[in-house]
Symmetry: C2
Subunit: 338 residues, 2 copies
């Protein structure tokens, strides 16, 4: 089946193909009568614009590359959901890439984006990303770039993040407000600002409330239910007294909850537990898990909105790139309801 082009429409109507092109693009200089005729013929013939040809000529694809570590994590799929929704409303499409938390994979993805001539790139970097020649390359080519959640410090790029420091502070302060005093914090070895910021928030809250910061009560390991469980168990085994746990992430907190239950320790009466991320399971477990909500869908929507703004400003005086910092939200549930 031969594909219909604007030339076919032009031939049918005995006008030039550039008039057809203008009519389809709603060019102001074309008469309404011509536009109407062109559109009708286009529909009748089943014409569909060839965006590839249009992109080659115009230099714009109306495609945004979105690269995330892993779409199976609900955090990222929620953000991408938000990005796609808003971009879609604004006539942009999303080219999706998963970096799988590997820097080389990420570099390949960005290379693909550049080759595909995307109009812009939205990224959340991998744990491994240290050097950033590929990100620098994006800038050098003048392609709009935006980070969300995990941003590269030092690179002047607009970003949408949440205030992880504040989140860590809020979680810890909430525990303190509920009367807990010996608060264990479980973090990770991963060297990402989002995690170290939460730790700093924890420390600041303790400091502000004149509670001691004990390095023994700051544990680092894998982000997993198992590590949360093992950590709580190890504290119990060693007889290290504690009356609350702030885990850097909900699954870890869930592990703590399971270890406590196994050891017949009452939550929230004897020990309070709070996580971070507000995963779907938090409201369903018993006791319901307190957490910090990251406004994931909103983060995606804000990222898309900011991005559209950047696209419009393209070429304009740069200035300091905008940085949107979303508020973390405390979700207090039973696990801290002393």
């Amino acid at each position: 089946m031969k594909r219909i082009t604007i030339e076919d429409i032009a031939a049918k109507l005995n006008i030039s193909f550039s008039t057809v092109a203008r009519a389809l693009n709603d060019h102001p200089a074309i008469s309404d009568a011509t536009k109407k005729a062109v559109r009708e013929t286009a529909t009748r013939l089943g014409y569909r614009q060839n965006k590839v040809a249009a992109s080659l000529r115009s230099g714009r694809t109306h495609i945004i590359g979105v690269i995330v570590p892993n779409l199976q994590l609900s955090f990222f799929s929620s953000v991408v959901h938000g990005i796609e929704r808003v971009m879609n409303e604004n006539e942009y499409n999303i080219l999706l890439y998963q970096s799988n938390e590997q820097a080389d994979h990420e570099a390949r993805g960005i290379d693909t984006f550049l080759q595909s001539r995307v109009d812009g790139i939205i990224a959340s970097i991998t744990q491994e990303t240290r050097e950033m020649p590929h990100f620098a390359e994006i800038r050098k080519r003048g392609i709009p770039l935006l980070f969300f959640d995990r941003a590269i410090n030092g690179l002047e790029v607009p970003a949408v993040v949440i205030d992880d420091f504040k989140g860590g502070y809020m979680a810890t302060k909430h525990l303190i407000d509920q009367g807990y005093k010996r608060i264990v914090h479980i973090n990770t070895h991963q060297d990402l600002a989002i995690f170290t910021d939460r730790l700093e928030g924890y420390k600041a809250a303790l400091r502000d409330h004149h509670l001691p910061i004990d390095e023994q009560y700051i544990v680092r390991g894998a982000l997993s239910l198992e590590f949360g469980d093992a950590t709580a168990q190890s504290f119990l085994d060693q007889g290290l007294a504690f009356d609350a746990v702030f885990a850097v992430e909900d699954y870890t907190a869930m592990g703590v909850l399971q270890a406590l239950k196994r050891n017949k320790i009452k939550v929230p009466k004897e020990v309070g537990v709070i996580g971070f991320a507000n995963e779907a399971f938090g409201s369903l477990v018993t006791p319901a898990l307190s957490s910090i909500d990251q406004q994931t869908v909103r983060m995606g929507e804000e990222a898309a909105a900011l991005f559209l703004k950047v696209l419009q400003q393209k070429g304009k005086p740069a200035g300091t790139p905008e940085r949107i910092v979303l508020e973390p939200l405390l979700v207090a549930r039973d696990s801290t309801a002393r």
Copy 2:
């Protein structure tokens, strides 16, 4: 900054630009020396192929359109995760679109895909999709199409699904095997085969085990925790005896669990509960929720693999489209452990 093209490389090396193109595409007729020189120069100049131009000329974009109802549902994001992973390994990129469960939105997405000249489309239809002129259009244009999970019956299209009938049967049989006899089934009004098949599986299992099928025990409503809760409560209020519930979906089952707990009814001793989908929360709640696993990531991987096969066969004798039916997996946990 001027963009580098193959002509720039050709000029630097005093060869023709088509030799450069061949060298970059590893054409067998080009000498190794030339290839080496071309590649080095390309790297040195920071050349990046313009895929848009290549696509316009070759007619192939190496882009697959993927359209799903909503990426925020873990089912779909898991499948898309699997699809992207496998497609990526095979040099295909994913153009992502959310239909938001609206048929007209879905039609627009497909239109965009056609305009973007994607090499193929992978779709899971909306609840609303009844007529399918846009899907028929895809076929008419000879663009490979594949459905996963939610397929359109009657359209001869390859698909990857799970055996929902068998899943419904397994869930019900499991309850029966555990000694439950009065089994309520909560389903939905949504007229999708995946849901009616589960209902049929429920009926068949009852029949095979000589248990009565009582329409009063088959309830239809929203897919939500609230409806599960309300349904269980209503059975209790009416004094309708039951000793098990098979919910068509995990959140509904979770609602049932909550209603039973509120009414001090012991699970699994007095009433057994099983859901469907094996959502992440199932293993974390108390009692842990039994469910039917749908192998979501695998579904995406199989969809991508089958799709690659279809792409290769393009133009070959058609025959009956392949249909991969994945086995549902019983995940027996505490909520049915009588």
